[in-house]
């Protein structure tokens, strides 16, 4: 569960994308993140309509699941959303394996392997440890997540732990910087990397790095 890599989503990860403008989009969920769909695969689709006056942005959840041995989603018809709404994709369970989400319309494209402004990636950390992360395509974008074990010293350790899991741990990504660069969380907690500026960003566990000045 702890493969930290936004290019390879799996159970415990979420990818969310805001759709800022109206139009029709096709998208697919693939194991390898192939850029073109197989001709025999039925694509999923999203219709983005103009929002009603005063309407607040909404979240639309899509579950990625196995249909036989193929990846599929839990909506069979065209997903209808308003401009400014967010669609959140996540795996139903561990049997889904690794996947990527990508799609395009006449005036908008998105890809979970290359995050852009208006998207976010979440990852739940199941193992205690220290995780250095970076964007392989943008050397200055990096940080560290420290995961500690939950404390079991009071009368309600499960309740205390759940309360900690509900705390939002956020890394705001603005082009080349991450805020905060270092974050400490409890085991099982999820971190959300919110892409506020930039494009083509991916979040991966860092290997040995070469400092470039």
């Amino acid at each position: 569960m702890d493969a930290l890599d936004s290019r390879l989503l799996h159970y415990g990860d979420c990818f969310a994308q805001q759709f800022p403008s109206t139009g029709d989009l096709s998208y697919w969920v693939s194991r390898t993140g192939a850029s073109t769909p197989r001709p025999d695969r039925e694509l999923a689709s999203i219709k983005v309509v103009a929002p009603q006056a005063g309407e607040e942005h909404r979240q639309h959840d899509v579950t990625v699941q196995l249909d036989g041995d193929q990846l599929g989603v839990d909506h069979t018809s065209k997903l209808r959303i308003a401009a400014g709404d967010v669609v959140v994709w996540h795996a139903a369970d561990a049997s889904v394996g690794y996947f990527a989400v990508s799609g395009h319309g006449s005036n908008f494209a998105f890809d979970s392997r290359a995050l852009t402004a208006g998207s976010l990636y979440t990852h739940a950390f199941a193992e205690v440890g220290s995780y250095a992360w970076s964007d392989p395509g943008h050397g200055h974008l990096r940080g560290r997540i420290t995961v500690r074990a939950p404390e079991a010293s009071n009368d309600d350790p499960i309740g205390q732990w759940f309360a900690q899991l509900c705390e939002a741990a956020i890394v705001s990504v603005r082009a080349r910087s991450a805020d905060p660069p270092e974050l400490e969380i409890v085991q099982g907690q999820a971190v959300a990397w919110i892409i506020e500026e930039g494009h083509g960003i991916s979040i991966t566990e860092a290997g040995p790095t070469l400092e470039v000045n």
Partner: protein
């Protein structure tokens, strides 16, 4: 026809012979796996024997009483914690996102690992059993052995209690690195009864004891009676054509070796 050589040992001498035979018996460490209360448990066992009193019963039974079986057993018990703890499924977590407001995402359920609980005990048990005399010629060496007639009854209760006593700290130690899993300790301990441990120990020891034999006499068939005294005076050997062992009653019961040369 009368035997050429006859050697006899009374029960006192036979006891000393047995004790010497116990010292020379080397039992390789045994290993395997067996069920302990449904857990497929790996085990290793080392043993040695000491003491015991010999009583001789014609024509060929040697009863060994109160033989001390010294053993060390190491168990590795695999326990799937998911059998004792429910998966932890946290509620969704919500993130304030500048461009849209609050986004809530599900968190995965956390399942528990399988742990291996190591338990080691060393103890001594005593047993009494009848052994039968056998003689055989193996690769030019006469061997007289006493082989156990049937598996003796051994009280494994104290050993089982020792395992149960060791199990508590062992389970607690195995769970210590896993946050919040310590609540499973009493449930795990309750799943393993003394009777289950006794059954496992019996399963481990029975094959070893069913094949138990001590070699009480060994002699090359070519028996040297005189050493060499020079280049033209070589060593002198006689051939032991036949060796028989039995228990004979005279004024007292004796272990008798009869040899034809």
């Amino acid at each position: 026809m009368a035997n050429d050589i006859v050697v006899a040992a009374d029960e006192t001498a036979a006891t000393r012979i047995l004790h010497d035979a116990e010292k020379t018996l080397v039992v390789p460490t045994q290993a395997g796996s067996a069920s302990l209360a449904g857990y497929n448990t790996s085990w290793s066992l080392s043993v040695n024997f000491t003491d015991g009193d010999v009583s001789l019963t014609p024509p060929d039974v040697i009863r060994l009483a109160n033989v001390q079986l010294h053993y060390s057993i190491t168990l590795s018990i695999p326990i799937d914690l998911n059998a004792f703890l429910p998966p932890i499924c946290p509620p969704p977590v919500c993130f304030p996102v500048p461009f849209v407001g609050l986004i809530c995402v599900p968190l995965p359920c956390i399942t528990w690992p399988t742990i291996n609980v190591p338990v080691s005990i060393s103890d001594t048990a005593s047993f009494s059993a009848d052994f039968a005399l056998t003689t055989k010629l193996v690769s030019g060496v006469w061997q007289v052995e006493v082989a156990i007639v049937r598996i003796p009854k051994i009280d494994l209760g104290p050993a089982a209690n020792a395992v149960i006593a060791a199990l508590g700290p062992a389970v607690a130690g195995a769970l210590a690195p896993i946050p919040l899993a310590g609540i499973a300790v009493p449930f795990i301990l309750a799943s393993i009864s003394t009777a289950a441990v006794t059954g496992l120990l019996g399963t481990i020891l029975a094959p070893l004891l069913s094949n138990l034999k001590f070699t009480i006499y060994k002699q090359p068939q070519q028996f040297q009676i005189l050493g060499a005294a020079g280049a033209i005076d070589p060593a002198v050997f006689i051939t032991l054509l036949d060796v028989e062992a039995a228990v004979q009653a005279s004024d007292k019961n004796e272990l008798v070796l009869s040899v034809d040369i």
